[in-house]
Symmetry: C2
DNA sequence: TGTTATCAAGTTAACGTTAACATATTCTTC
DNA sequence: GAAGAATATGTTAACGTTAACTTGATAACA
């Protein structure tokens, strides 16, 4: 059998002409709406098969003014929690008959915007945005929300009267991580993964600062280290290399910290390497806490104490919020939900008995 | 300023009416094609701003018969190499003005098909498929390729006269991993992550078998263990849990292996845990090789010997192949490229001096 | 028997763009 | 100053579908 390659695909009218009915009749057969006699239906289906007909989604969407598709913008899919988020969103949506298109914007405002535009251009029915805040991106996002596209943000600091948001309580997570170190008796606790100036935008750092404050431990800016994010672009995601460098810097201080809270697990792992290289024993000489509970955390030596955020739940709730917005266009109350994180204590802070 | 929420978005004609010109003139201003006087252009742009006009991509795509968008179907975005692949594909495409929409199909033929359909429904200009082979999915993929949609497969065993393919040389990778173990003097080498019956579809396992064969080491089926994939659905991706179980099974044999080759790093890590639990020293009592060189591999204790496949390059080449197919519709030679893997020797096979 | 449902189609007019062609004006150039 | 080129706009007709309306049967019912 020869292939039909490159021939123009058949349209409703082609099918209609073959059978000898009106295009609308074929449409009725395809969509299953309206009356069609059994006889006609069969003839149509036969022709559909013969012509290899497939309905043109573009035309359909244009006419129906909806695409049954939702977009998800994430920054870095390599992050395990992005995966969990995406899967949860997809699962929830697909149960309601929606498709999910994912766009990745690798940490730059420009790509963030490109992704948003691409999705809007395809008239998706709604967008879940899970990238970090940035000025230009927020502006564009505001325009999009203004124009009536349902939007939900996940873990992004963005406010708009028609945009719901969901995030983990990073402040509390950071607070509890630090509190945990304090409870273990540490007084000099470093923070790796962001600069002190970033504290306005970084909840985890705020939690750290707040916990120290609560226990009357004065903030030593030299103990807070990391590459500073520019304000117009995304604050650089903190990597293993940054953790390594940061730890080196902390260890070179006259009075190095006895514990560090790293902004995320990657950073923590980098810090761990630097500490080991310097001959420090973990957790005896240096306690380390990470954030995110990536698969990595379980396999470091020693296993990493970290903070887990409920990504699956966030994804599910985000999808549900969006579906509500989509179906219930006039809904006006914006919802803002914050979920608790969970401190997972492993051996990088507490020595095994 | 009040928002324009929920009002129907302005169209070309709305803008045209405001300015007092024909819609086509506005279209010319927007697209930048054709002659428009400076004066008119300015008036139009003003109205565009005032009405918050945004061109409807759906209508445009329908008319132009192209969407400047490419779809990527991947199985599991949590896998670090999926990330690399996606990023490389995106980068290459965006340099040529194409958007990338990613669909994930979490390891089931049904979702694989759903993803393909969703993309085809949106009339994307081409598809990169990086999911594992499965019967129904392949059938659908054949239909899609037949209908003239440019398709490129990555690491998927699929053949079609109009579909290019790119993959890593998993056979050779498996061969070299096994060869490495043999070179170290091992005679009883296990394979974890697939059943012996899967060998028809699993190149890594074939490489293992071939390497043993070359060195006149007879194949002991008891040494090959893993959950068997069904033929209609995707062979289950091998996880850490499977590695753990598999290792336990191998260790319970009367004569356990002295080395194992795991189908991927996750599986290897699971196997490692089981081995440690049994009191075995790695690599002295048991040598382990993984596959994929995930970030994990560097951080296990001891660091994992593994095989790296060049995902970035695969992604780039896949995108280039696809772009060529898209722009050069009548091209007929199908291209099939296979890239070398790289064995990365770490301490899970060779003890540190 | 006439009135109303129910069923099975067909017709029309969008959805919002743009390619292709047509028309009108102005500018060159010999 | 006539012929052609360049510029500036308008008109028409799709792209492929479906919502809404219309028409004509046939069946159901009082």
């Amino acid at each position: 059998m020869r292939h039909d390659i490159r021939r123009k695909p058949a349209t409703l009218s082609d099918v209609a002409a073959t059978v000898g009915v009106a295009p609308m009749t074929v449409s009725r057969v395809i969509s299953g709406n309206g009356y069609v006699s059994e006889e006609t239906r069969e003839k149509v289906l036969e022709a559909v098969k013969k012509l290899n007909y497939r309905r043109n989604g573009l035309a359909r969407s244009l006419k129906r003014q909806q695409t049954d598709t939702v977009g998800l913008v994430i920054g870095d899919i390599s992050n395990p929690f992005s995966t969990e988020l995406a899967n949860a969103v997809r699962k929830t949506l697909s149960a309601r008959g929606y498709n999910l298109f994912i766009c990745i914007s690798e940490h730059s405002a420009k790509e963030d915007i490109t992704a948003l535009e691409a999705l809007v251009d395809h008239n998706i029915d709604g967008i879940v945005v899970a990238t970090r805040s940035n000025k230009e991106g927020d502006e564009r996002l505001t325009e999009i929300a203004n124009s009536g596209v349902p939007v939900v943000v996940v873990g992004r600091d963005f406010r708009h009267e028609a945009v719901d948001s969901i995030s983990a309580d990073n402040f509390k997570g950071g607070f509890e991580a630090t509190q945990h170190l304090i409870d273990l008796g540490h007084k000099r606790i470093g923070f790796i993964g962001a600069a002190f100036e970033d504290r306005g935008r970084l909840k985890r750092l705020q939690g750290y600062i707040s916990a120290l404050g609560k226990h009357k431990i004065s903030i030593d800016e030299r103990l807070i280290t990391g590459r500073r994010g520019s304000s117009t672009d995304t604050p650089g995601y903190s990597t293993e290399a940054i953790g390594y460098e940061g730890m080196k810097r902390l260890l070179s201080l006259p009075k190095p910290p006895t514990a560090v809270f790293a902004r995320n697990d990657f950073t923590a792992v980098g810090a761990m390497s630097a500490a080991k290289e310097a001959g420090l024993a973990i957790p005896q000489d240096l306690a380390i806490v990470g954030f995110d509970d990536t698969p990595l955390a379980l396999h470091t030596t020693p296993p990493l104490t970290t903070v887990r955020q409920p990504m699956r739940v966030q994804g599910q709730i985000a999808a549900e919020m969006l579906l509500r917005r989509i179906s219930n266009k006039d809904e006006s109350e914006t919802e803002e939900r914050v979920l608790d994180c969970e401190l997972i204590i492993r051996e990088s802070t507490v020595a095994q008995r």
